[in-house]
């Protein structure tokens, strides 16, 4: 199977009080298409920074990130927006839904940015929400009136809106109880089982990591396994 993600000699340094600190320090890794990979490590080990670099939310100091054959470190402006919109779907630990939009409208947003026809948008958004168990009137509720589990499921539906090839999830179960955590994990896992997407998840939870097909352990910005 082809590699969906290839990271080579990736480095990200931050300026702290006049000296450079490497949050990600020379990482090399590869994830195959349809694989469910997890990145584990202690707080401050560089997990979230690595995920931000993979999602093009931040730019690396050096190194390359090739996703589906395209080096995203060379992308800028509209091409970078197109990559974030179409190739990846990002799931955040604290959901990051737009508070004054309903669940349905939040899922519509990426399709709006992709300029899909309005009818197609609504039908797909409703279908995605139903797929993660948000049905009926719940789709018209705003995030403030939803539980954490519901919000995370809406967040996953939003990440899937534009048929991304790669799902990046930063602690997706971190704020959820075990039942909701298990449910969210299953949704992500099913995506890889059906071959619809490759999933890379950052987690503290060793149990979840143990159920993924590949585990990368990070310490002080470097991979240990």
């Amino acid at each position: 199977m082809n590699n969906m993600l290839v990271v080579q000699d990736l480095k990200k340094e931050f300026d702290q009080g006049g000296h450079k600190v490497a949050a990600v320090n020379g990482i090399n890794l590869a994830v195959r298409q349809g694989e469910f990979a997890s990145i584990i490590g202690r707080s401050g080990s560089g997990k979230s920074t690595l995920l931000s670099l993979l999602g093009a939310l931040d730019s690396p100091t050096s190194g390359s990130i090739v996703i589906d054959g395209q080096d995203i470190t060379r992308l800028h402006g509209p091409a970078l927006s197109r990559y974030r919109r179409s190739t990846i779907g990002f799931v955040f630990q604290n959901y990051n839904l737009v508070p004054n939009l309903t669940a349905l409208e939040n899922v519509l947003l990426p399709m709006e940015f992709a300029r899909l026809p309005k009818k197609q948008q609504v039908a797909r958004a409703a279908s995605l929400l139903e797929g993660v168990g948000i049905t009926g009137d719940a789709q018209k509720r705003k995030p403030g009136k939803m539980s954490g589990g519901e919000q995370q499921r809406v967040s996953i539906a939003r990440a899937l809106a534009n048929h991304p090839k790669l799902i990046l999830a930063d602690e997706p179960t971190g704020n959820l109880d075990s039942e909701n955590g298990r449910r969210v994990f299953e949704i992500l896992h099913n995506l890889t089982r059906s071959g619809k997407a490759t999933v890379v998840v950052v987690t503290h939870d060793l149990e979840i990591a143990g159920r993924t097909s590949r585990v990368f352990q990070l310490m002080d910005g470097k991979l240990t396994t």
Partner: protein, 390 residues
């Protein structure tokens, strides 16, 4: 003024319209020799001194007497002024005040008719009432109305038809003054020039240009204050909108980061904030315009009355010191002030389409710039940074 002021001297052509008019007048004096009327005004110190010095007064009740004679002082009385006019409505008395009726009504100024209106002081002094008669120039004149002009000198007068007075006083075709009124202060200079050209050397023509300038001066001041207020409001509005949008955009920094993370273009983010700002500004415009239109009249009235008030107080302060009490430039200036106040009371505020459109464009432009600039700054930050530094 002399003879032959066409259309104004003979009772024809006056009041060609409600706003353009020409009132001609012939002034004369009634004394004990040509009338049985007794003046209602006692001689003041100045008049008595003149009587003492000359033993006579021009047009007054004259009794030759040696200088300093007590008899001369007793018999001197100021004359009664009689004025022939071709229009009662446009008539103003000495000092500029207009006539108001205490009883009776006006005579028909367009006809040669032996009727007159008398001032209330003169009527009281001579026991005259509506329907009474008095003698003047050997004719019997019927009193048809009694007026009050607000001051003792004016209330010691008689008004009658111009043509009648011209006939009785053997001054047919003559007038002593004519007052032309123009419809707008803007036309005053043009009208004055035209009248001078038409009359040539037959008459001295003076205009109330200074008075007109004084009339318009408060409005210029109001316009200046309004313009400064407008500039201040626009500047304050621009600063407030810019700061408010900056705050809003900063508060929603994380939201911007999220939108960028899920694929929003910088242009989309800017457009979203501009639409929000335009929507809020449009709502504020509707409310603001409603309040503005409702408040325009009271504010204009207040500004105009304040401006006129300050003009009047200046004029009144100048008046009394500038001439004889109640008769000189002081009185004239007071009348101008009163006239300005009366005219400026009717100033109305109106909001024209150009002002509305310009105001709306200014507000919307400020909203667009005020929202686009902060959104552009924030949208250029990387999503991770925007979400990290909340």
């Amino acid at each position: 003024m002399g003879r032959g002021v066409d259309g104004c001297a003979n009772g024809r052509g006056n009041q060609s319209s409600s706003r353009n008019s020409c009132v001609a007048a012939l002034g004369d004096r009634l004394t004990t020799s040509n009338s049985n009327l007794v003046s209602a005004i006692e001689a003041g110190t100045l008049g008595q001194r003149r009587a003492n010095e000359s033993g006579t007064t021009s047009g007054g009740s004259t009794v030759p007497a040696p200088s300093g004679s007590p008899r001369a002082m007793q018999n001197f009385t100021p004359p009664v002024t009689i004025t022939g006019v071709n229009s009662v409505n446009g008539t103003s008395t000495f000092g500029g005040s207009s006539l108001s009726w205490t009883s009776g009504q006006a005579f028909d100024a367009s006809k040669d008719i032996s009727e007159a209106v008398v001032g209330k002081n003169l009527a009281t002094k001579n026991n005259l009432s509506v329907g009474s008669t008095f003698k003047a120039y050997g004719a019997t004149i019927k009193v048809v109305g009694i007026y009050d002009a607000g001051n003792d000198f004016a209330n010691n007068g008689v008004f009658m038809s111009l043509v009648t007075l011209q006939r009785l006083s053997s001054q047919s075709g003559s007038i002593t003054s004519a007052a032309a009124t123009v419809d707008s202060a803007d036309n005053l200079a043009t009208a004055t020039t035209a009248i001078k050209e038409a009359l040539g050397s037959k008459a001295d023509v003076t205009s109330s240009q200074d008075a007109a300038d004084q009339l318009v001066a408060p409005l210029s001041s109001v316009a200046h204050i309004s313009l400064l207020s407008l500039l201040g409001a626009v500047t304050a509005g621009a600063v407030i909108i810019l700061l408010a949008m900056l705050m809003i955009v900063r508060e929603r920094r994380r939201e911007i980061g999220v939108m960028k993370a899920i694929g929003a273009r910088n242009g989309s983010i800017m457009w979203q904030f501009m639409v929000e700002a335009i929507t809020l500004t449009t709502l504020a415009l509707v409310v603001g315009l409603g309040i503005g239109i409702a408040a325009a009249r009271p504010i204009t009235d207040s500004l105009v009355s304040t401006s006129v008030g300050s003009t009047q107080s200046t004029q009144t302060a100048v008046g009394p010191g500038s001439g004889p009490r109640g008769m000189g430039p002081g009185a004239a200036l007071r009348s101008v002030g009163t006239s300005s106040a009366q005219t400026l009371t009717n100033v109305q505020a109106s909001v024209g389409w150009p002002a509305l459109v310009l105001g709306m464009l200014a507000a919307l432009s400020i909203a667009v710039l005020g929202s686009a600039i902060p959104a552009l700054i924030i949208s250029n930050i990387k999503p991770a940074e925007a979400m990290r530094n909340e």
